[in-house]
């Protein structure tokens, strides 16, 4: 057995007790993911782009839960002219969820995207905002800014300022919305990324938990009353998900908000893991399992500062 298979089996075994259907879960983890994308409405009308893309792949389908999330049978849409001119952005379906959970707030607001590179969510939000309002897209690593800037340029995003800071030392800045798409063990992307198995280490949970709490804590600390904070990861690990949110709820004056995306199958956050009990409010978090919507795994929490 190679390392990829070993890690995959470890993940299946570890999280089977949390899922509703163990067999389907295990089966889905072993299936590769199809390429997904969204149309960049800042540059072109959705229908026009889709009609053109259907000339290359007539089987392109739109998901039931997001009218701008599309799946293709092709795995190289990155070499289409539509990608070159910035009409499409190749993005995992689950990665499109965070902006959707605050769809009601997103127009003409000020947003801080704390860990923005490579810019999937930033560019998605800019499109939803029709290039109005203001986004601060921050990342801590200089090397990652190149891809962020490249995507902002290609997609024609003009309402965004790019900053290079460790978010934990970011100056207190008021905004209506804070996005913390935190670095994580990325277990949930194992269907797509072979690199996950290469870098996966059991002891990383603790390291990531500390980092995530630092980032989310900073966002909650600087958020003014009434503003919203969205926390997301692409890992199954409760140590990086509910535990982080639970600890933050206990420390900061934050209130959980229930998330509902119509027609997206999901489950609530868990309140117990490894003999540890979490704040019962974390039930309002959302868990997306790979076998539910044929996607990666994803975790998301929406909070409001009291």
């Amino acid at each position: 057995m190679n390392r990829h298979q070993i890690i995959r089996d470890k993940i299946i075994k570890k999280y089977s007790i949390l899922v509703d259907d163990e067999k389907k879960f295990a089966k889905s983890i072993n299936l590769p993911l199809k390429q997904s994308f969204r149309v960049n409405t800042l540059k072109e009308e959705k229908e026009r782009v889709l009609n053109k893309l259907k000339e290359y792949d007539p089987k392109i389908r739109t998901t039931e839960w997001n009218d701008n999330a599309h799946v293709s049978e092709l795995d190289n849409l990155g070499s289409s002219l539509e990608h070159f001119v910035g009409h499409i952005y190749i993005q995992e379906l689950t990665s499109m969820i965070p902006p959707l959970v605050v769809k009601d707030l997103i127009k003409n607001t000020s947003i801080i995207d704390c860990c923005a590179a490579p810019g999937s969510k930033t560019t998605q939000m800019a499109a939803m905002m029709e290039n109005k309002g203001h986004i601060i897209a921050n990342d801590a690593r200089h090397a990652r800014l190149k891809s962020l800037r490249g995507n902002l340029d290609r997609l024609g995003v003009t309402n965004t300022s790019v900053t290079l800071r460790d978010f934990k030392s970011f100056p207190n800045t008021k905004a209506d919305l804070y996005f913390v798409d935190a670095p994580c063990s990325s277990e949930g992307t194992i269907r797509k990324k072979k690199s996950v198995a290469r870098t996966w280490r059991e002891k990383d949970y603790l390291r990531f938990n500390k980092l995530q709490k630092g980032l989310l804590g900073k966002a909650c600390e600087m958020a003014p009353s009434g503003s919203s904070v969205v926390y997301s990861t692409c890992t199954f690990s409760p140590d990086e998900n509910e535990k982080v949110v639970s600890d933050i709820l206990d420390k900061y004056n934050m209130k959980m908000k229930k998330i509902d995306i119509k027609k997206l199958k999901s489950e609530s956050g868990i309140t117990k893991w490894n003999n540890e009990k979490y704040n019962s409010e974390v039930e309002k978090c959302m868990r997306v399992w790979p076998h539910h919507n044929d996607t990666d795994a994803f975790f998301i929490a929406r909070m409001e500062k009291c």
Partner: protein, 150 residues
């Protein structure tokens, strides 16, 4: 570090866009203009952030050396407002253009030599420089790519 662009330079670019591409200068009413390093001009509709200097704002639209040079980002985003000095190329040439090649095209008297917008089937590809015979590719190297679907 970005600084607000001086009025004279802003007017110079706007005048260039009106004369060269037949654009309406009103389209930039809601934008702020900035000057960056290496004579780069940025266009953004962002707010100023207190106590932090951003790495960049909005998109780089021009380079202002001896004369204004539009960027591919600018032409792709504002191509719909361009009414003259654009060249439509066929699929074969589009593949070459995206690879970074220069193109030899039939002469076209309607196109005044200088920077042009390259289009393919209503898609705005980017910038080229036309001298009456040769269309010199102006794509940045980072954008060179092989196109399989068009």
């Amino acid at each position: 570090m970005l600084k607000p662009l001086v009025k004279e330079k802003k007017e110079l670019i706007q005048e260039y866009c009106v004369k060269r591409f037949g654009m309406d200068s009103d389209i930039w009413n809601n934008y702020k203009w900035y000057a960056g390093s290496k004579n780069k001009i940025y266009l953004a509709n962002t707010l100023d952030i207190e106590r932090i200097i951003p790495e960049s704002k909005g998109i780089c639209i021009f380079r202002l050396d001896k004369s204004p040079k539009p960027t591919t980002n600018f032409l792709q985003l504002f191509g719909k407002y361009i009414s003259k000095n654009y060249i439509e190329i066929n699929n074969k040439n589009t593949i070459k253009y995206c690879k970074g090649d220069d193109l030899i095209l039939e002469s076209n008297k309607a196109i005044v030599p200088g920077f042009v917008l390259i289009t393919n089937n209503k898609r705005f590809l980017g910038c080229g420089h036309w001298n009456g015979k040769l269309l010199k590719n102006q794509l940045p190297k980072s954008k060179f790519c092989n196109i399989n679907f068009l």
